[in-house]
Structure formats: C-alpha cells, structure tokens
C-alpha cells in the first residue's frame, strides 16, 4: 500500500481537528473493511488515516430514554449480540448481520457501511426505515440529521471536510412496531445486494397498519424511501390486495441499473417480491410486540 500517516485520537474534537487540518485527503478508519480494500486497490489515496476506535463512545450501545444510541464504530458482532437491539430492531440487526463474513462482522461498522455510500449497503435501509438519525461532528460543532441525508450518490456523502459520524440514534419501537430486512444475492453468502428491502411497521390492536416505512437498497444511486409503498400499507391489514399494491409500488419506485449481478427487469421484479416478504415478516413481528 502507498505510504500514509495514521493517528488514533482519543477525543472527538481531536479527530475533527486532525480531519480538518489535513492538507491532503484524510479518511476515517472505523472497521476498515471497506477502507483497507480501497487503499490497496488505489481507489482511495488518503494522506492521513484517522482511527476513531479509541474515542470513548464510538464503540458501544446505550439507551438514552426513548432512544437507542449506537456508536459509529461499533462492530457487527457487538450489534448482533445485543439482546436489546435484537428485540427492538430485528430488521436492523438482520441488515448488519448480512454484511460480509464472520471475519468482516468482527470489524465492520454502521458508520463505515453508511459513509462508504454503496447503494447496496445492507445496514442502511433498515436504519432509515426505523427513522434513525446520524450525529455528525465537525469543525462547526455537532449536527444531527436523518440517516437518509448522508448518502448523496454512489461513493458520495454530504459530509464536509473535517466531519465524521459519531453515533446513530434510533427511536425505540412503539408497542406493535417492528421491522424486517431481506436481501437477494446471487450466492448464499458474502455478496453484494441485488435488491435490499427494509420494512418497518406499526400496527394497532386489530392488526391494521398505522405507520410504515419501506426502504429499498441497490435499486437506485441511493437508498429509496418508497412513500407509495408505505401508503399502500397504512390503514390496511396485510391482505392480498394490500400485498399486490405494495408489490406494485415497490417495483414502480426502482431506478436500477443492469450489471453482472442482475438486470434492470430482474431487480424490479425482486424488489416487489422482497417487499411482500419483508412486510409479512414485519407485520408478524409487530403483532407479537403487543
């Protein structure tokens, strides 16, 4: 790999200063499972690597009142092992858990998955579906934005020089609220999503949906919050007619490309299929969370 400088600050302010002051490109090192691959291939040529893992709070999961807070650099294995998260957001845990292999899970983080800005990122759709926010630290202080505001295109984020994602804040689910994430890949494991679909629903006592978010990944330059799909669910139970409308809405919102993993037509079809299946799982889980 080409020469690079490395620093591991122990405070958020020191990390911001290091990122902002770097004359050349500075990259954040979280789990490193995307960054090191890109350093080796030459796709990323930073002058400085700022490792955020020594900053207290960057790794860890805590509750603050009505919110779960997940440190940006928390590895997948820690997220999957947290019983509170598994119970509250099985869909988010599913999304995180699908990233890579056991070895990748030992390091990969949500902040990295988000800021690497692949359209096919697996942890991002369910976090968006849960209305998660990202806390960004930078030279102008902290700001909290919806997670969907971070990714602006493939490999592109809205983060300015000196900024990095410190943590994710996700509102605790209400009674009868739950989620699911499904992904289609050509292989069994270790592949990039052809379609990813996250569904987060809230039901009333009769099983009628009162709130919903449907987020698709890998079928557009960024994740898509499919408003029409959510509207198909709200005010309805998950009967055949609703499922058909949901399928149509999901398919209609896609803007995929054809590549070696799937054609446009195939991705559109699978988006509808995964929306149906993810909704069925989310509804079942939500009803059980009375």
């Amino acid at each position: 790999m080409p020469r690079v400088s490395y620093t591991a600050p122990t405070t958020i302010d020191d990390a911001v200063k290091a990122l902002a002051a770097s004359a050349g490109l500075a990259k954040v090192l979280s789990g490193g499972t995307d960054l090191l691959v890109q350093l080796k291939s030459g796709r990323a040529r930073p002058e400085l690597i700022v490792d955020t893992k020594r900053i207290p709070g960057m790794i860890g999961i805590r509750e603050e009142g009505d919110t779960f807070v997940i440190g940006g650099a928390t590895p997948g294995v820690m997220i999957s092992a947290d019983e509170r998260l598994v119970k509250a957001f099985p869909g988010i845990v599913e999304g995180v858990d699908l990233i890579g292999s056991t070895q990748i899970q030992g390091r990969a983080s949500i902040a990295g998955n988000l800021c690497n800005a692949s359209p096919a990122a697996d942890s991002v759709p369910p976090v968006i579906a849960a209305r998660g926010t990202a806390v960004v630290a930078g030279p102008n202080g902290r700001r909290e934005v919806p997670v969907e505001a971070i990714v602006t295109g493939p490999g592109q984020t809205s983060l300015q020089k000196g900024e990095f994602v410190v943590e994710f804040r996700i509102p605790k689910p209400k009674p009868r609220q739950s989620d699911a994430y499904l992904r289609f890949i050509p292989r069994t494991e270790m592949d990039i999503a052809v379609v990813g679909c996250a569904v987060n629903v809230t039901l009333d006592a009769s099983g009628t949906c009162t709130d919903a978010r449907v987020v698709l990944g890998a079928v557009a330059p960024t994740q898509i919050i499919c408003a029409e799909a959510a509207q198909a669910l709200i005010g309805h139970k998950l009967d055949d007619e609703t499922l058909q409308k949901l399928d149509s809405a999901a398919r209609g919102s896609c803007r995929p490309i054809s590549d070696k993993r799937g054609t446009i037509e195939y991705r559109i079809k699978i988006a509808g299929v995964l929306a149906r299946r993810a909704a069925a799982i989310a509804f079942e889980r939500a009803a059980a969370r009375a």
Partner: protein
C-alpha cells in the same frame, strides 16, 4: 516519517514491533514477527486465509493495520495448539484429511476455533455459515465441516467414532 512502535500480546506473549502505518497486521505478523502461519490468499478480506482472533473476535488480518494492534490481544494459528498438544480442531483435520495444499488451513483452524469457543454445539448449517468467509479450492469443504463438527463433539466430552480409514 518515523515508524510506529506497537505493543501487543500475541499468542499469550507480550510482543513489540515497529511498522509503517500502511503495513497491515498480516504484513506485520509475517514480515516483522516471523509468524508466517497466517496466509495472504486475496488481500481483500474475501478468502479468510489470514484469519486471526483479535480481542476475542475472528477477523481478517489483511484488513487491519498493524498499528491498530496496539494494546490488543491477538491469537494466530501458531497459538492454537498448546505446546505439542494439538487442538481438537487440528487433530480432526488430520484424521479427516480436511486439507490438501493446506494454504487455507490456518484460516479455517483459527475460524473454527473461534466458532467452538463461542458455540459448543453448532449445527452443520451454523458451521457452514460461520465458515463462509473461509475459501478452499482443494477439498470441496465437506471434510472440513465433518472435522469441525467432530472436534466440537470431542470438546463436549463425547467420543465420536474415527472416520473410516
């Protein structure tokens, strides 16, 4: 640019090494510390031949910088046996002929040890999914999986029959 000085614990022993920032942990293990058991199969975190256990989690050492090992505890394939006593996973790999060229084997042994440290009774499906990040071009995986499941039985105190000669 001066080198980084890293203090770490490897296979139970305190070790120090000097490295440049861009050297991966795999580079440091092999080139700075002579621990050539971990292999570079792909360099991109896909094949698992470089697997090590870092602070209790199995990771790809090719995707970790050497400097990140500061203050951490690392177990490599060289630390799996206890002196001359093979770990049950290693013993069963031999009995089942779960290797041919052997290049993927260190990674599999480390990853399998990590599995059995966490899950004493994995199903075949759980074992295959856990080891999905370890690739083998020679064996077709089946003997590897049989060996790992057998090793798990031994570690539970059961006495599984020897594989057919």
């Amino acid at each position: 640019m001066s080198k980084h000085h890293v203090s770490t614990v490897i296979n139970g022993e305190p070790k120090e090494f000097l490295c440049e920032a861009q050297q991966t942990l795999l580079d440091c293990l092999r080139d700075e510390m002579g621990l050539t058991g971990s292999k570079e199969g792909c360099g991109s975190g896909d094949c698992g031949a470089c697997s090590v256990i870092c602070d209790g989690k199995v990771v790809c050492s090719c995707l970790m910088l050497g400097v990140e090992a500061e203050g951490r505890t690392i177990i490599t394939v060289e630390g799996v046996a206890e002196g001359e006593k093979l770990h049950p996973v290693q013993q069963k790999f031999l009995e089942h002929a779960a290797l041919q060229c052997g290049f993927c084997t260190p990674g599999f042994i480390v990853a399998a040890k990590a599995l059995l440290d966490e899950n004493k009774n994995p199903t075949e499906e759980e074992t295959r999914y856990w080891l999905a990040g370890n690739l083998c071009r020679c064996t077709g995986y089946d003997k590897i999986i049989r060996a790992v499941l057998d090793a798990a039985a031994v570690m539970r105190g059961e006495n599984p029959p020897s594989p057919a000669a």
